[in-house]
Structures are given as structure tokens and as C-alpha cells.
């Protein structure tokens, strides 16, 4: 049951001039073309991309979109390791735009972040990006202006290896995203106004099997144990390569072939659980960088991460499922050896409920994710022995210790304590071995960060400095920040690395949401127990709720780089910083 939301949107636009933006051309009734679903390909030394307003429709939901070269997603940019590329980006919108090449190593002025690496691309302007290609693998590109990424301004980016790659017979892109007919500024407003607007899986008197005592404890903390995703399938249609679950997207193969699937999470706000029931997947790369092969049955992919997997499916039709982490919907395609045969996707699994580990209460009895109750459904740890308010850990093997859920003495000295910080994790643990919310009890092999080992040895270098950065937020006010300070407050106070300095960075998540944290212009190494030489390289790391994640980074890319949570509305709320690497090496020196 739904009612016409347009009247709410128009009336909210009338709330005040300051609240409504000047109407763009598409809203003034000027004719727009329909964006194509799915994408073509561009390659070579010279590439032209143009950004424009279009209509887009999928699965009965229709609305405005920003498309690049007329399609959503935009074209696949296919490059080759070792080439130089020149990309002209023309802005046909009524507002500034930009393109960020997510995961690419390049001079900072071509990184495409307005206000950090360049001024942005004004309406009617063409900006030329020009850089050498120093790597290979699976990446993506997207707008870094406003909330454009939500409305279609993104696409895949593949860099062929300089060496031939015999590991597979077919090569497919699996680009995950969402489409919503609602204007992204309206989504941002609804998140600020609150009421968990998009969450239709809250615990109620008739739903959820959490005992009353635990419900009271969560209520006492003013926290919602079903707060898995801020924006959900209640407004999103989940897309694979621009196609909704009912569109019947097919990936063809011949029995006996090895198929490489390049899975890219190009969504604004959604973590996906990827599986092909009955078909194991061998992970060969994470975030574009090769890892030692590891076979799994499922993996969770955070926003902006990429994973390459090889599958060798038996003859038939297999469902390729991208289930939203909160189980509010899924993207579906068929991996099939019979053209036109659609696979039947499995049903959505039970909604996910947070546990004590997600509150930053450490682990219980040596098990992570709360006391593993094998009978409980996904991710529901038992919290017996906890007293709300007083947090009595008698049952947790820590003696009689009481924990404040907002002990600000645990924050770094320069962090700002204020209304934007509703909790501080009392005992945050490293959870690199955690498969992701809702996947700790699924009964098959799920990828964990501890499974990832770099395929090629890294140089062995000890970090000379360590840095702790806290991820902070307030769900009720929808405020998000690093160390309690929004990006708007730290424009002139960046995180500083000296050129070629090696730093160990510990991210401490003082919130109950998982955040995918992305550092531009660099690859960092996850400190995941693989040993200094084999730590996997990544550009984006998920920090689990109430937990820590640590990486080592060698700051060998001089310039100013964005560093932010890749959940779009978290970044929009302020969860971003600048990382500056200085000085610039003299000509002929360094990388």
C-alpha cells in the first residue's frame, strides 16, 4: 500500500526558499531522453564522457537520473596497464559535476574530488583528465559532487593486465547499485528528520525474537538493534549492471568454462551479500589487487569495494544473488548455459539483528559476535547476563566491570566531544575475522578479511608511527564524522603524512553501523594477521560496528586526498577528511 509521495515532495519544496533548490531544466518540464539501461564500452588513449540529465525507469520505479554518455550505469572504461589516457569530461548539467576514478593511482589533481583535488567541472565546461595507467584490475568511477552518485553517475573501470591472464575463459562485470525515484536531497532530509524512515524491519511487538530484557537494554541505550541500513529496499530497486531483479539479466557460459566475475559495489548506501547457490566462488582479487585464491560460498561486499571471483558452474541456470545486507531486497541475474532460461533466486533471509559485539562490548567467552547460539537465526547473539544501563559483565569473564557507553576518555586527545557523538565503544575489538553482519551463522564458507593474502610480496617495512582515528556518529540526529568533527569543520586541519612515511592507522568504530572507509590515491595493507609481507592491499575497508580495523599505509603519493566513509549520506553528513602527503618530491626522486 502506498500513496502518492509527490505531494509531500512538492509541499516540502514549498517549506521555504532555502529548502528548495533552483529548479533544474528537467524539472521545468523540458524534454528529457530516457537513459539506456546497462552500458557500452569506451577505450583507447582518448576517451570522451558527457554527463547529462535523463529519465530512468526500472521495475515500475521511474524518476530523474544523471547518466554518462546516455546510460545508467555509465560506460565501461576499459584501459590497459602501461598506457596513457586522456579523458575529456563534458558537463551538460545545470550544476557542477566531477568524476573520481575509484582505486586508481594517479596525480592528485586528476583524482576528481571538488574542493580537495580540483575545483569541479562547471556547467557547460569540459575538464581533461590525463594520467598514465600504473596498475591493472577491477575498479569503478563515480561523481564526487553532491549526491549525484545516487542518481546514476557511476560506471565500471577495467584495466587489462600487461601480461595475458590464462585463468578464465569469460570475463563479466557485475556492477551493483540502487535506483530510487526519490530525489537524493529528499532522502538526506528524511534521514535528518529521523524516525528510521526507510526501515521497514524494525523490531515490533509481533516481530523479532529478542527477549524483553534485551529490548529494554537497547531502549535504555536509545539504540535500534535493527539499524542495519539507513536506506533500504523500501525505496531502492537493487540493480546489476543497471538491471532490476525482474529484468532477467543473463550471463551466458558454456559448461566447463571458467568465468571471471568482476563484482563492483557501486551503490550509494548498500552492502551486498553475494552468492550463487550451488556454485562455489574462488576469490582472486580484492579492490583490484590480486590475492592468493580462496574458495568461498558467499561474501559480503561493502559499498565501493570490488572483488574478482572465478566460477566454473555446471550446465544449467544459476541465480547470481546480490542480497542487501539488511535483507530488504536483492539484485538478481542468471548465470546460465541456456539462453533464455531464468534461474530462480532463493528467498530473502531473515532480517539481521545487532549483537553485543556491535555495541563495542568486546566478545563473550572467546566467541565473536556475541555468544553464538546455534539455534538463533542470523546474527542474533544471546545477551544473557547483561543489565541495561549498568552493563554488568559478570557473564563475560571480565569480572564485575561496568561500562559506560560514552566514556569519552577513550577518544584521541584532539577529538571533539559534542552532540554529534552518541556513543564510544567501551571495548572495541578487531573483527577482521568477522564475515559481515548476518553472515556469521549461515552454515557455509563466507569470506573474511583474514582469508585475504596478497599474491605478490609487499616490501617488509615497519611503520614508524601509529595513528588512531575514531568513526563517530549520532544516529538520532544523523550526524557522522571522524573524531567527532565534520568535514566542514576540518577543511584546514587535514590528516598529515610525510612523503614515503609508513604509518599504522587504527580505525575505531564508535557507532553501531558498519562503515566502508576509503582512502583516495593509495592502497593500504590490512593488518589481518597475514604477516607483513602478505598483508592484502585495499583502497576501502569495512570497519564493523563497535569494532576496530587496522591498516598500514606507505604515503608515497604526494598531494591532498579525500578520506571518507563511502556510504554516500554519511559522507554528505560530514564523515570525510583530507589526507595530505607532503612534501612533493623533487623531480627525478621518488615514485
Amino acid at each position: 500500500m502506498s500513496i502518492d509521495r509527490r505531494k509531500f515532495i512538492t509541499s516540502s519544496a514549498a517549506l521555504g526558499a532555502a529548502m528548495s533548490l533552483p529548479l533544474p531544466a528537467w524539472a521545468r518540464g523540458e524534454s528529457l531522453t530516457h537513459a539506456k539501461q546497462g552500458f557500452g564500452e569506451v577505450s583507447g588513449e582518448k576517451i570522451a564522457l558527457s554527463v547529462g540529465d535523463h529519465h530512468f525507469g526500472v521495475g515500475g520505479r521511474k524518476g530523474h537520473a544523471i547518466a554518462v554518455n546516455g546510460s545508467v550505469p555509465g560506460p565501461l572504461v576499459r584501459l590497459r596497464e602501461g598506457q596513457n589516457v586522456r579523458i575529456d569530461v563534458t558537463n551538460n548539467l545545470d550544476e557542477d559535476t566531477s568524476i573520481h576514478w575509484h582505486g586508481l593511482l594517479l596525480p592528485f589533481q586528476f583524482d576528481g574530488v571538488p574542493g580537495v583535488s580540483f575545483p569541479g567541472i562547471k556547467p557547460g565546461e569540459t575538464f581533461t583528465y590525463e594520467f598514465p595507467i600504473r596498475q591493472n584490475g577491477t575498479y569503478w568511477w563515480h561523481s564526487h559532487s553532491g549526491l549525484q552518485e545516487q542518481v546514476g553517475h557511476y560506471g565500471p573501470l577495467i584495466i587489462e593486465s600487461a601480461e595475458p591472464d590464462p585463468r578464465y575463459d569469460r570475463d563479466y562485470v557485475v556492477l551493483l547499485s540502487e535506483f530510487t525515484p526519490v530525489h537524493p536531497h529528499e532522502i538526506a532530509r528524511k534521514l535528518k528528520v529521523g524516525e528510521h524512515y526507510y526501515n521497514r524491519q524494525m523490531q515490533t511487538a509481533t516481530e523479532g525474537d529478542m527477549p524483553l530484557k534485551e529490548r529494554l537494554m537497547w531502549g535504555g541505550m536509545r539504540m535500534n538493534p535493527r539499524d542495519i541500513s539507513d536506506v533500504t529496499g523500501s525505496t531502492y530497486t537493487f540493480l546489476i549492471n543497471g538491471h532490476g531483479p525482474m529484468d532477467g539479466l543473463e550471463y551466458l557460459f558454456a559448461p566447463g568454462e571458467k568465468v571471471r566475475l568482476r563484482v563492483i559495489n557501486g551503490s550509494a548506501m548498500t552492502f551486498f551479500n553475494i552468492r550463487i547457490p550451488g556454485v562455489p566462488m574462488t576469490v582472486i582479487a580484492a579492490d583490484g589487487m590480486d590475492v592468493a585464491p580462496v574458495e568461498v560460498d558467499e561474501f559480503q561486499i561493502g559499498t565501493a569495494e570490488t572483488y574478482d571471483v572465478i566460477v566454473a558452474p555446471p550446465a544449467g541456470s544459476h541465480a547470481l544473488v546480490a542480497e542487501a545486507m539488511d535483507r530488504s531486497g536483492m539484485g538478481v541475474a542468471s548465470l546460465t548455459s541456456h539462453k533464455g532460461h531464468r534461474a530462480t533466486p532463493p528467498p530473502l533471509r531473515e532480517p539481521v539483528t545487532l549483537t553485543m559485539a556491535d555495541m563495542g562490548m568486546g566478545s563473550m567467552d572467546g566467541a565473536h559476535g556475541g555468544a553464538m547460539d546455534q539455534d538463533a537465526h542470523a546474527g542474533h547473539g544471546s545477551m544473557a547476563g547483561m543489565d541495561h544501563g549498568g552493563m554488568d559483565h559478570g557473564a563475560m569473564g571480565h569480572g564485575d566491570m561496568d561500562h559506560s557507553m560514552r566514556d569519552t576518555s577513550k577518544l584521541p586527545p584532539d577529538a571533539q566531544v559534542g552532540p554529534g557523538l552518541d556513543m564510544v565503544s567501551p571495548m572495541p575489538m578487531d573483527r577482521m575475522d568477522y564475515p559481515g553482519l548476518g553472515l556469521d551463522n549461515v552454515g557455509h564458507r563466507v569470506l573474511r578479511y583474514t582469508d585475504l593474502k596478497a599474491k605478490r610480496m609487499n616490501p617488509h617495512r615497519m611503520p614508524t608511527r601509529q595513528l588512531e582515528i575514531h568513526l563517530t556518529g549520532n544516529m538520532e540526529r544523523y550526524m557522522w564524522s571522524f573524531d567527532g568533527r565534520k568535514f566542514s569543520a576540518v577543511t584546514d586541519d587535514p590528516i598529515r603524512f610525510s612523503y614515503d612515511e609508513r604509518v599504522r592507522v587504527k580505525l575505531v568504530n564508535d557507532t553501531m553501523m558498519a562503515h566502508p572507509i576509503h582512502l583516495h590515491g593509495h592502497f593500504f595493507e590490512l593488518v589481518n594477521g597475514s604477516g607483513m609481507m602478505n598483508q592484502p592491499l585495499k583502497h576501502t575497508v569495512i570497519v564493523q560496528p563497535g569494532s576496530t580495523a587496522t591498516f598500514d599505509v606507505t604515503a608515497n603519493e604526494p598531494g591532498d586526498w579525500a578520506f571518507h566513509c563511502h556510504l554516500l549520506y554519511h559522507m554528505h553528513a560530514g564523515m570525510m577528511q583530507t589526507v595530505t602527503v607532503r612534501p612533493f618530491p623533487a623531480a627525478g626522486e621518488g615514485a
Binding site: 517549506l15 575545483p119 544501563g389 549498568g390 578487531d430 575475522d433 583474514t450 550526524m479
Partner: protein, 326 residues
């Protein structure tokens, strides 16, 4: 539960800042003792089917500098923390200024403020728009709030009023307030209240509004009138979801006065209590019709005044209305 809520509301009104600490006892900074870090778990992806036992947790060494025993192969010993080396401060404040010009970059940074943290927005919420039916009387009531602003500072407007159909409006008030976040869950509000009915009167308002433990939305305010009368009002409501769309909302409102106010038939002390139970169905989040029951009672000296005048001191009403916002 109700009493608890009221008590905490009173405490909040009295000491909004101290009430922010949920734990109620001093937090301590002591870290749990980290056992010596273990080796990372081996791949135990051998078998399909149910995992017998979750793998032992992978632990990193505590790197806070606390002394510890640590024999694992992948740890680092102590890495100093501290400020970055001096050369990290070299060059211009913003690297891109040198390439694209300081002016263009300054403008882009200004735009970034609005799109990375300084969003201004707002809402208007009619919590209660209702008809109240009690032994032959048909009354109407509105209770509307709106705000516009940023995360910390907001302009807040509130209006409440009621009357009987076919008669003049009995009570109308409008408040214009500045709201300022004083903690994670509470705003301090200060400003003016104008009563248009029963007679024009203005007040200075000082209050707190926010989310109390156990998810009670509370609003407490002190009013100092232009005649020097001090009154107070406390409200609390709680949304109990029956299903995702069906919500039961208990609500309580208490009014107090520091002195007699004869022209408003108010005696000093507790003057009035209003309780209600409303069951709403959210057709959309922003639009929910409801039915419910309301009980109102004059209290203390105010009730005595009413009894002397031969008026009812309390009454029950059936309520029908709409909760809507945009």
C-alpha cells in the same frame, strides 16, 4: 514505567546536562585485560554444512601502549604515536591551489561545507490533529511543531490549541524558539510564547526537548509570563510498534504553576494532567490516521477552583485524528 519516565523528565528539566550520561556512574577508562594475542585462525573452510564452533577470535595486540606480553609473529611491539614529521607541513595549505588557483579552490571548498556536513533542512510535524468526543461535546485540537536549521542550531516553531465545534477557540498558543543541541539526544530551547486565547499574553520560554532513555520523546519547558507568572509543562510520548505500520502511542502531559493565577482559574502546584493512548496506522510514514482515548484531569487547587465553580474536574474523550508531517 510512567512514573519512571516522568521522574526522568523532571530530572532532565532540572539538569539537562547531567542527564546526558546514561550510565549514571562514573565511566572508567580501564581496558579489559587483553590476553596475549593468538595466532590468526587457520582456514577452516574445509567442511560445508554447519560450523561446529566459531573460530577463535582473531586479536590484534593492544596498541594503546599498555604493557603486555606478546609473542605472536605478526605484531609490532610499540609503534610510537605522535605528531607527523615536520616535513608533512611543507608547501601550501591546499595543494590544489597551486594548480587551479586559490580563488577557484576556495569557492569549491565553500560548496563542500554544505555538501559535507552543513546541510540545512527542516520539517513540519502535526503530532495531533484530532476531534475529541466526550459526553455530547465535540472538540478539536491541534499540536504542531516544525524546525529548520542545521545539526546544532535550529529555529523551532510550535503551536497548540483547542476549542469546541461551533464555539470560539478556547486556547491558542504559538512558540518561536531557538533550539541548540546540548548533548547527543537533547536540545535546549529558548524563545517566546504568545497566547492568543483565552487572552493575549506573552511568555519567555526555556526548555529542553529530546529523546530520553527507553525511547521516550520528552519536552519540558518553563514559561515566565509578562505578568511574572511562572508555569511549567512536561510532555512525554512513546511509540510502541505493534507491526511496522501499526503503532500504539501512550502520551502524558503534566502542567504546573508556581503561584495562583486567578484570571485563568489556576491554583499553585500541579494544575493539570492529560494522558492518552493513540493507535495509528502509517499509510505512509508521513501520514497516519489514528483512534484513541484521552483522559484529562485538573489537579490540586486548580481542581478545587473548578469544583467551586460547579465545573467538571476530569473527563474522558474518544479521539480521532491524523498524524502527518512533511
Amino acid at each position: 514505567m510512567l512514573r519512571l519516565c516522568l521522574a526522568s523528565t523532571l530530572a532532565l528539566a532540572a539538569a539537562p546536562l547531567s542527564a546526558q550520561d546514561m550510565s549514571g556512574h562514573e565511566g572508567h577508562g580501564a581496558q579489559a585485560e587483553e590476553p596475549a594475542a593468538e595466532q590468526p585462525p587457520k582456514d577452516d573452510h574445509s567442511g560445508h554444512g554447519n560450523m561446529k564452533k566459531p573460530p577463535a577470535p582473531f586479536k590484534l595486540p593492544d596498541m594503546t601502549g599498555a604493557p603486555q606480553m606478546d609473542h605472536s609473529a605478526h605484531t609490532m611491539g610499540d609503534i610510537p604515536s605522535g605528531p607527523p614529521p615536520a616535513e608533512a607541513f611543507e608547501g601550501p595549505q591546499h595543494a590544489a591551489d597551486e594548480i587551479f588557483g586559490a580563488e577557484a579552490m576556495a569557492e569549491a571548498r565553500k560548496t563542500n561545507h554544505a555538501t559535507h556536513g552543513d546541510m540545512l533542512t527542516g520539517t513540519i510535524m502535526a503530532e495531533r490533529l484530532e476531534v475529541r468526543i466526550s459526553d455530547g461535546h465535540e472538540a478539536f485540537l491541534w499540536d504542531v511543531q516544525g524546525w529548520y536549521g542545521g545539526d546544532i542550531d535550529k529555529f523551532v516553531i510550535k503551536s497548540e490549541g483547542e476549542g469546541e465545534f461551533g464555539e470560539s477557540v478556547e486556547d491558542t498558543e504559538i512558540q518561536a524558539l531557538w533550539g541548540h543541541a546540548i548533548g547527543p539526544f537533547f536540545d535546549l530551547q529558548a524563545g517566546a510564547r504568545i497566547d492568543l486565547e483565552p487572552e493575549t499574553r506573552s511568555h519567555f520560554v526555556l526548555g529542553v526537548q529530546g529523546l530520553a532513555p527507553y525511547m521516550w520523546h520528552v519536552d519540558g519547558a518553563l514559561f515566565l509570563s509578562d505578568r511574572g507568572d511562572l508555569t511549567a509543562r512536561l510532555e512525554g510520548e512513546y511509540d510502541q510498534k505493534i507491526t511496522q505500520r501499526l503503532i500504539l502511542q501512550p502520551r502524558v502531559e503534566l502542567e504546573l504553576s508556581a503561584q495562583d493565577i486567578p484570571e485563568r482559574e489556576i491554583g499553585a502546584g500541579l494544575t493539570k494532567i492529560e494522558t492518552g493512548l493513540r493507535l495509528r496506522y502509517e499509510i505512509a510514514r508521513e501520514f497516519a490516521p489514528y483512534v484513541g482515548i484521552g483522559y484529562e484531569a485538573k489537579l490540586g487547587e486548580t481542581a478545587d477552583i473548578a469544583r467551586l465553580a460547579g465545573e467538571d474536574t476530569d473527563g474522558v474523550a474518544a479521539v480521532f485524528g491524523i498524524r502527518a508531517w512533511f
